[in-house]
Symmetry: C3
Subunit: 312 residues, 3 copies
């Protein structure tokens, strides 16, 4: 049997390096080089990725970015965020625990990023819940992020909201999926919404590249063309709060040094490997989180780059 | 000598199962069954308990709820909280670190819960300190929670504020007890205020059941009729921030699957057992918190149900 | 060779106890007694030090204060903070993650502290970034803190803002140093700004004592006259978020029982020793933070008092 961690496979069982020759750079061997380079470059250059994120997991987001080798800064005021953006390689915005002033602040920040072509990662936590969150997420459609990372339900809800569903009809109200912060949908249900979302993001991007990452038992990453599936990780990652949020933050850290597809893949692969290591070294969710941060720090770029990745 | 962890005792030394035959279900053997069932049911069904809580310990509240087997969601906007309530088995409100808009948001949320009979746990952190907190806590009197959990000083201050003290005279200003976030009163001083508070809550509840839990060296829980004392735990729980807050969150998790008295007893007993286990496995407050979360995850329903409980 | 941890040295190689005989109490042996007493007194009396601090590291600030032996309370509303101040030995204000209402709240709180002579520690996080932060930090000039603790870039930026730089000319705009939350300047570059800042603070203080602490590879502490350098600590302290913030919080804890110079020295020395211990007991940033909190709890007053301190 072949080494699963190095397998290259697509929907038709044909070696993907032959079936994907477009700009999106779908040669998996090439992707592995880019992933390894991203992991190494973060550790060598310590890029700053600024975050506007929720209060529950803000500490873990910062600590995960530091453990991955980057630098962290957290802000909520538009003047702070916009002042810091020039020294931030990419930003991370997470709409978890909203305060009233975010309704104006977040669209204002997104407009500033859009104007300067500043790269950012959106985490549409609990998309579909709450009037204020829906207003904010809809407003982002006009000034889209570079990467969206969420669970399946959030990705489906956001694609709906932005009118990107196959079923979307003009005049129809987007479906409201009361998913809470946990996915009620399986990752597979999000393949098409994720792909359409990524195509929409890429079309809006200055360099026409973007990515969408869907977290789940098997992570899914797409640049709008190819869909990548990354199995692995640990079920314990759902037993600590913030595995998803901090993955979003680390995705921004990698985006500071790499293209969107590479950044999303590198972050997902890093998390899967670190989760597996942490599971073997822990005895419950408390020690898992400690071991997970240690593993983010200790896992090698080669281990991350050798991750099992399936192309479709 | 009898096994203390199974002892059944009341003030008159008479087996409590004979002296308590009212609806509040005071047979201790029956209570132990209900406690074990609650612990198991949370682990089996993973109920969501939403929190509106302070920024200091919000992460620990979520992680403790996950470690107990539940699901967590944190929100501050009334539209978020009210949208999420239908999928939340019970809510947790903690008035620790207030922001200006909470003065309107929290009473609005409490009114919405009251209107639909939605169950919730109130943690009156620092009751008596600050004009805004006092306004909020007074407003809750009209739309009371299902369970109040606090330290002795907070329970006494809240009972005063709501005019439930024995000494309360019409026209008198409720005493302001500048307790800060730490109790200056002993649990015993809170027995009568706790009992009166629980009676007031029960009278307002759709099903006429409620509970008050007072945390301290010996925890005290009452449904307004019977008073239960739970000894145990660890002094290290006062050396980490958020043991009390996260206990409140886990109480809401149990309230999602059980009656108020059972929920309060199960949460207190779980915390005492986990604290004892963590103390033996740690070397200071850092490792204590890690071991405590692991113990919340690993302690068995039988261990929790067999906890020492004294009835009075 | 002499024991470095007990060395007493100044710029001219003369024993400092002979060259420093002014009021600021520069006899190093005497300082060590005061440091040991502060560490012991915090553990014996558990003083409350209230914090108004950022959302990223608020949990670590509280846990570090508890681990050092103090008590913690966190608030953001002026009425809360001002109500709690009388029972708080000293306050800690950190301008990390600002919200809009802080622009009025923070100056209001500082004015209340100034009026009553209440001691407080300022952490000018990210000084120079953002219009709102600059307004707040400038406003503090009229009601200055007892201690300022920051990294070199923040100390330089604050001294600039307050017109305390050697180069400051009337009518000039203070330099804006976009340092983010991490220092871009070396500690040595902050010696003169720190000294001038401390002199300014002391001149405004009721008892004419104050201190400035600059965190870095070698920490620098000054009362405006003498400059102290404390080598040691661990590079891992830059790989967790909040080492600096929580040091500020613990400085307030010591300020509750000691003079400003002693408080700043004791906190820096405690952090250096705990960092060194934690480094030997950890395997990455996750286990480092756990071991660090344990070490704050376990390190002895004698270990802290025997720290290497150089006078200049």
């Amino acid at each position: 049997m072949s080494d699963a961690s190095l397998s290259i496979r697509n929907e038709r069982g044909i070696d993907s390096s032959y079936t994907n020759s477009d700009d999106s750079g779908c040669d998996l061997a090439d992707l592995r080089v880019r992933i390894r380079t991203a992991v190494e470059q973060v550790r060598a250059t310590r890029p700053l990725a600024q975050s506007f994120t929720n209060f529950v997991t803000i500490n873990l987001v910062a600590n995960a970015q530091l453990a991955a080798g980057g630098a962290a800064a957290m802000s909520f005021l538009p003047d702070d965020v916009i002042d810091t953006a020039p020294i931030s390689g990419a930003d991370y915005i997470n709409v978890g625990t909203l305060l009233p002033f975010y309704k104006d602040a977040l669209p204002q920040i997104a407009r500033a990023f859009h104007k300067t072509g500043h790269k950012w990662v959106l985490d549409p936590v609990a998309a579909g819940i709450g009037r204020t969150r829906t207003e904010i997420l809809r407003a982002f459609r006009a000034t889209p992020p570079t990467i969206v990372r969420g669970n399946a339900s959030e990705i489906i809800a956001l694609a709906d909201m932005w009118g990107l569903s196959a079923e979307a009809e003009p005049g129809n109200q987007p479906a409201t999926r009361p998913a809470g912060v946990e996915a009620v949908d399986e990752v597979d249900a999000a393949v098409e919404p994720a792909r359409r979302l990524a195509q929409f993001l890429a079309a809006s991007a200055p360099d026409k590249t973007a990515a969408v990452a869907v977290s789940g038992k098997i992570d899914l990453v797409t640049d709008g063309e190819t869909v990548y599936r990354l199995p692995g990780g640990s079920a314990m990652m759902t037993k600590i709060t913030g595995a998803g949020c901090s993955l979003g933050g680390v995705t921004a850290t990698y985006l500071a040094v790499a293209d969107p597809l590479t950044a999303a893949l590198a972050a997902s692969a890093l998390y899967d490997r670190a989760g597996e290591i942490a599971e073997t070294q822990s005895n419950g969710p408390g020690s898992f989180q400690v071991a997970f941060l240690d593993a983010l720090w200790n896992v090698t770029a080669d281990q991350v780059a050798a991750s099992e990745i399936h192309m479709f």
